[in-house]
Amino acid sequence: MNFWLVLTVNSVTFGGLLFLLSAGFSLIFGLMRIPNLTHGSLFMLGAYVGATFVVGLLGFKLNFWLAAILATLAVAALGALAERLLLRRLPGDQLAQVLVTLGLSFMAADFCLMMWGGDPLNVATPDGLGGFVRFGTIAFPMYRLAIIVIAALVAIALWLLLDRTRLGAMIRAGVDDPDMARVVGIRVSQLFTIVFALGAGLAAFAGIIGGPILSVYPGLDQDMLPLALVVVILGGSGSLLGSFVGSIIVGFIYNFGQALLPELAYFVLFMPMLLVLLLRPQGLFGRHVP
């Protein structure tokens, strides 16, 4: 009984983390049609930059949340830069986009190894969230529950942004029909930079939020990228709701698959992605076929 409950709660937690990671990916994919293979690297970079402040590698320590915001902004700026300088030159050229994003991810991984070495960084749980919450006989760590709350808050904020603001309306128009959006006078070029920065920032934020659970280590990027891909394909690119539902589904598959079907754990993880691609290429909630 205990086992099922722990796994269920953890599935939702892990799903929350995946949502933070993949919401940005989904927007980038949906709006710009770029298979952004640096997304795992952005997650790892955010985790490393944040951990640097939390652990105090520069000689001073910052509060966890402050560090998270700093890491988010720094990586968002980096994302904007990459979009302006590189990706912008390659509209619609998927081969080149694949090559550039992969090249950047190689560089990012090696850069992290050079800067932070091979030692894993242990990010302490933020103050006040280190305890346990009791459900009857079992205790569940408060921080993991907090992740669910954070993910929900971010989801609401993103929804408000997309649904209630002018920027959001432009993004939605861009996702639905980029050519039409351009015709009606939306400056798609600027929009791309903003969305890419937003996506990069979200990935970085996910990285530092995930730090206390996953810790930060070389190879984190390769562990997370495939999960983000599964979520986005499953949920449908460009769809916030899709990312959310997809994340929770993947959270469950990951947790229960590893525990109950260890030999087929990755098979059951990637099979749904394949099935969706074959049977419903636009994803569960997406509106257009990528």
């Binding site: 091979g118 030692d119 242990n122 921080y143 280590y217 190879g219 990951y254 590893q258 525990a259």
Partner: protein, 413 residues
């Protein structure tokens, strides 16, 4: 000479700081004999990088101590990064043997890397000194060119199981370890000795080497009074965090990689109280160890762990072997014979010698993880002396049984 001063060797020299000058320009007196070429296969990327980087530091520390000179021969040190990948290990082993023409290879780190090159080094007759587990390399399928100066996968686990059963009085244990040869063999050895001492293994859990979140595995731990973990690299860290986050309080015992001294600075309170069995311990009070620890702290600002100490001992063995063969390494068979006959009195882990399979016989330390002066320390609580890979078992009977694996010894129902 200019080609030989490759960039990486230069870097290794830089890491060695002051040694660089002597390394770059061998003095005429020493140039009489050709330099002795020492290769290292290590891992500097991926989840195993933490140990891999310490491996290189351990070797360089010893080389500096000897001023890059073994038995009157200049030592040229070449380090190669395998990427923790078996195919990469093969390529890099070829680079060391075929291009650099090394006289001996230290490393690789992981059992699956070692398994990928074992046939090749036999073919090439190059002595190899590795920390990697892969029991059968010194047991049922012995490789004549292989030496293991650290421990077989199960060598530290036999005493740990003995201690867990007899001193900690644990009865029912769940084992959890990476799903590869090193994990299988560690847990097999633990189970064998633990069950003979009257304990019972109630569940064996095998997460893959790369596991972002251990919760699905930790959730399966229960109905026991202790946990034996055999994680390597940075994984012990993440496992223990998840373990504590799941609210589990069963005592944890582990082997050399799971409680490595080098991990202490990354551990948090969740690791307190863990018992580990290791062929090296930071707090060993001998001159050899103090010299080693001081040098590591001075050059790298870190406390050495099992990987650094293991490679330091490996380098010591090579130096002593070369001394024994009067500086000659061209006759590989004579050289490996000399290496295997090495007995060292003053290594960081105490006195050691090698058995007729080339595996180390030495002391194993049971340590308790505590907090002292705001720092985490592994405090030695018991020392098992002169432990061989066969523990207390009869060698013939031991070798007649199958090698420890995922399913051996089998679970008792």
């Amino acid at each position: 000479m200019s080609r030989k001063l490759s960039r990486r060797k230069f870097m290794a020299g830089t890491a060695a700081g002051a040694a660089l000058a002597t390394f770059k320009f061998p003095t005429p007196a020493l140039a009489q004999a050709a330099p002795f070429k020492l290769g290292l296969l290590t891992v500097k990327t991926g989840p195993l990088a933490q140990g891999g980087i310490q491996m290189e530091q351990g070797v360089v520390t010893y080389l500096k101590e000897k001023n890059y000179t073994f038995a009157g021969r200049k030592v040229e040190f070449i380090s190669a990064d395998t990427g923790g990948n078996p195919a990469g290990t093969k390529t890099k082993a070829q680079e060391l043997i075929e291009r650099e023409k090394v006289d001996a290879i230290l490393g690789p780190l992981a059992a699956f890397e070692l398994l990928a090159v074992t046939d090749y080094i036999t073919e090439q007759k190059t002595p190899m000194l590795s920390l990697a587990g892969a029991e059968d390399m010194t047991q049922r399928r012995p490789n004549p060119y292989f030496l293991r100066p650290s421990a077989t996968s199960a060598q530290a686990m036999h005493p740990m199981a003995d201690f867990a059963a007899k001193e900690l009085k644990l009865k029912r244990i769940v084992t959890i370890s990476e799903d590869f040869a090193f994990g299988h063999e560690q847990m097999g050895g633990f189970q064998q000795t633990f069950e003979e001492a009257g304990g019972k293994i109630v569940n064996k859990i095998w997460p893959p080497l790369v596991t972002p979140d251990y919760t699905p595995f930790v959730a399966q731990i229960g109905d026991c009074d202790g946990v034996c973990q055999g994680f390597a690299g940075s994984n012990p860290l993440r496992f223990l965090k998840t373990y504590a986050a799941a609210g589990l309080k069963y005592p944890v015992v582990t082997g050399e990689t799971g409680g490595d001294d080098a991990l202490l600075r990354s551990f948090g309170d969740e690791a307190l109280g863990m018992y580990s069995s290791c062929p090296y311990t930071l707090d060993l009070d001998t001159d050899g160890n103090k010299r080693f620890v001081a040098a590591m702290q001075k050059d790298y600002g870190v406390d050495p762990g099992f990987y650094a100490a293991g490679l330091y001992v490996a380098a010591q063995t090579v130096a002593a072997g070369l001394e024994k063969s009067n500086g000659k390494s061209d006759d590989k068979d004579a050289f490996i014979k000399a290496l295997r006959s090495v007995e060292l009195k003053d290594t960081p882990r105490g006195a050691i010698k090698y058995d007729h399979f080339g595996n180390v016989v030495g002391d194993f330390f049971i340590r308790h993880l505590e907090k002292a002066n705001g720092k985490y320390v592994n405090k030695t609580v018991k020392t098992y002396h002169n432990i061989s890979q066969f523990w207390t078992y009869d060698e013939k009977k031991f070798l007649a049984a199958p090698v420890y694996s995922r399913n051996y010894p089998p679970m008792k129902s």
